[in-house]
Symmetry: C2
Subunit: 96 residues, 2 copies
């Protein structure tokens, strides 16, 4: 199992319609085949520069790559992520 996560902050103002729309669109990634336990959360540690987190799980590396290459994910990264995200850090976790 691979737990894929990303912490990020948006260019949009907190509470703005643009922020809300981005988060709603990001939520649609949950329907891409292979994605399990999808969640979008608020990052609240003052020791961390990011405002949100997205996390999901894949059965294995092949399922993860299938998601990564899926046209809906590719389009989301191109059309929404790159233009609207100010900064982010990905992290992927597997069993020790």
């Amino acid at each position: 199992m691979v737990r894929h996560t990303v912490a990020f902050k948006l260019k949009h103002a907190a509470g703005s319609a643009a922020e809300k729309d981005f988060l709603a669109k990001a939520g649609e990634l949950a329907s891409i085949p292979g994605v399990a336990k999808f969640e979008i959360t608020r990052q609240v540690s003052a020791k961390n520069p990011y405002a949100y987190g997205i996390a999901m799980e894949f059965a294995d590396q092949a399922a993860y790559e299938g998601y990564n290459d899926h046209p809906e994910h590719v389009a989301f990264v191109r059309d929404r992520w790159l233009p609207e995200v100010e900064g982010f850090l990905e992290a992927d976790f597997v069993a020790l």
Copy 2:
């Protein structure tokens, strides 16, 4: 619910006895009252500078603070974390 996470890398060489001992000691944090779904994982994204992750969940902020202030956690941070960890980033996630 608060999901408390930290990604980190150790000063110890990969596969060393010192690394193994640190991870075993970190695992004992799971027994501190209030800690749920404790896990230590390997961080595998090449886009992230850290080698390991620890994650745990607390019912609420009070439970989180109880863990943070618990003598066993305080001693672990002082005696193991600060001297043996080369770098880390905490992130705490709550529902949107």
